[in-house]
């Protein structure tokens, strides 16, 4: 027998292995940023500031988990922000106009999220739209519904009991942060330790090969859009519950922030690779950078330019991972 089709093993050096870990691209800069911020500004490490940042991270992350699944299966959801807006207005209509009880509103919101996502899923899997086109259509469609219903004015006042979801705390920690932690753990488990997660990654890696292995790839792709719909609506729910009114502007531009967080966190735009931990690091990076730039009095306009540069760097790292940069002949 001997060395039939011998696989020569090359021991990658520690530097290469370090940079090959998906989350690392953003973790290192994130830590550096946090340390610098700690030195520059004493208020940075205050409990309230940390809680505020975690809260901001959680809205990004909750939606980001959905986006991670969609991107991993080689999809894309541009309608995420519009779905968040739709969630907000849907809640406003149910609570203020229809005076439904809060528990029923929450359940119906989850169902509506699943349906909003299912529309994308149907367009992509049954009508075979490219994800970009399908979700661009619903990006406009859902935002149009939001503006059509509200005519641009907020729905108010939301019942105070509802705001408990957004403002309530358990042991001093806001519910949304606790939800984020549970969701993060569950989503990591599903992605790494269940068939569903494996098939999401396999479908994103090569749909045809995965189909040939007997896996219903269309169902997998469809489900990822339903999932992001539900999570977008949950993110919108927590966001809405912080205010006394349902704002029609909620979620505008959010899809791009979430996609940026995922990419910075090492989720591949080309499908088949990504991690929930990476998306958390990416979301945290977005928020801490925002916080840092605010404290450094950098104007909102320039913030966007800096974010652009960071996304370019993140994608270069993603490409480098895939291509020859870290490979030796």
């Amino acid at each position: 027998m001997g060395d039939v089709a011998a696989f020569e093993e090359r021991r990658k050096n520690i530097f290469v292995r370090f940079f090959r870990a998906r989350e690392i691209g953003a973790l290192l800069p994130l830590l550096i940023l946090i340390i610098i911020m700690g030195f520059v500004n004493k208020r940075f490490f205050l409990f309230d500031n940390i809680i505020n940042m975690l809260r901001a991270i959680s809205y990004l992350f909750i939606a980001g988990v959905g986006m991670t699944y969609v991107l991993c299966s080689r999809g894309l959801d541009l309608s995420l922000g519009s779905q968040m807006g739709l969630s907000c207005i849907f809640i406003g209509v149910l609570l203020v106009y229809l005076r439904l009880p809060i528990w029923l509103t929450v359940i119906l919101t989850l169902v509506a999220g699943a349906l909003a996502g299912a529309v994308n899923g149907i367009l992509v899997t049954i009508f075979k739209f490219p994800p970009f086109i399908a979700t661009l259509a619903t990006f406009y469609g859902y935002r149009g519904i939001v503006e059509g219903i509200t005519k641009g004015t907020p729905i108010t006042p939301l019942p105070e009991a509802f705001q408990v979801i957004g403002l309530g705390r358990l042991f001093g920690i806001p519910y949304v942060i606790i939800f984020m932690a549970i969701l993060g753990a569950a989503a990591t488990f599903v992605l790494r330790k269940t068939k569903y997660g494996r098939y999401i990654l396999a479908t994103g890696g090569n749909e045809e090969s995965t189909r040939l292995a007997g896996i219903k790839t269309k169902a997998i792709i469809f489900s990822s859009y339903v999932l992001i719909g539900v999570l977008a609506f949950i993110s919108g729910l927590f966001f809405t519950a912080r205010f006394s009114s349902a704002q029609p502007t909620i979620g505008i531009g959010y899809e791009l922030r979430v996609i940026a967080a995922c990419i910075i966190g090492g989720v591949s735009l080309f499908g088949g690779a990504g991690s929930i931990a990476g998306t958390f690091v990416g979301s945290a990076f977005m928020v801490v950078l925002d916080n840092a730039m605010t404290m450094a009095h950098i104007s909102a306009y320039w913030k966007q330019a800096i974010l652009g540069v960071i996304i370019i760097i993140a994608v270069i790292i993603d490409l480098a991972r895939k291509r020859e940069l870290f490979k030796r002949e």
Binding site: A5, F7, K195, A213
Partner: protein, 258 residues
């Protein structure tokens, strides 16, 4: 070597529109033999194996697996009967590791109440054992397929097919686009699989490869069976004649005259 036929396609005819891709072809795979399926482009090789592995249905004809007549409507049924196919494009997921590819769609899980949890360690060990059995020297089954060389990818694809059957393996051009050294490794691997007791159909364009591993040659031309030869009864020259054929040459010259 027994004379028992493990897989047989009898009088298989397949039409594409008005064109006969296969015309009453009878193909037999004897148990524990390597049969090279030869023929020029468009001779019907791919159509024949697609029918034998359940990917498409013939217009007429019968298929027998171990003497039992079967009617495949899906590759899954063929797989259940122990017929695995390695396609020319390998059908690997590049972004997944070797062991994840081998187990794709058939993962080992442990059930906790309603939760099915992947047993990654078990699968890693299972994949590694099997690869070592085939003489594939690999320390790290967690390597991503994308990082492997062409020959290694072929080896993984063939292992993936062989892992799930102890009966019939269909290989569609397993040595296409490989270098000399890598080709030899794959050919050795095929011999190894035969020793393990598999019966193998090998599609190839390369007669040298066919003569190296196959026991028997089956030649198709324009959807018709030209002939079948045992290795000891034939030579390269005869097989080349069977593949190209006088009929083909005549048809070509008629076309140029017209």
């Amino acid at each position: 070597m027994s004379d028992q036929i493990i897989l047989e396609g009898r009088d298989i005819t397949k039409m594409y529109g008005g064109v006969k891709a296969l015309n009453e072809v009878t193909f037999r795979l004897p148990c524990n033999e390597v049969v090279a399926l030869l023929g020029d482009n468009g001779a019907g090789k791919s159509t024949l194996i697609k029918i034998l592995c359940g990917a498409i249905r013939p217009n007429s004809g019968q298929i027998f697996v171990e003497g039992q007549e079967v009617a495949f409507t899906h590759t899954r049924q063929a797989k259940e009967l122990g017929i695995e196919t390695v396609y020319q494009d390998l059908a690997l997921v590049d972004s997944l590791s070797i062991e994840k590819n081998i187990y794709l769609g058939k993962e080992i899980v442990k059930k906790y109440w309603f939760l099915e949890v992947l047993q990654n360690r078990k699968m890693k060990i299972g994949a590694m054992k099997f690869l070592q059995e085939l003489g594939i020297n690999i320390r790290d089954p967690e390597r991503i397929v994308e990082e492997l060389s062409g020959g290694q990818r072929h080896a993984v694809a063939i292992s993936k097919g062989a892992f799930w059957t102890d009966k019939i393996l269909i290989l569609d051009e397993p040595t296409a686009a490989l270098g000399v050294k890598e080709t030899n490794r794959i050919l050795n691997m095929i011999i190894q699989l035969k020793k393990k007791g598999l019966s193998i159909i090998l599609i190839t364009h390369n007669l040298e490869h066919a003569f190296f591993v196959a026991d028997r040659f089956f030649v198709l031309r324009a959807g018709e069976k030209v002939g079948e030869r045992l290795k000891q009864d034939t030579n390269t020259e005869e097989i080349v004649k069977m593949i190209t054929g006088a009929i083909f040459v005549e048809a070509a010259s008629q076309r140029t005259q017209a």
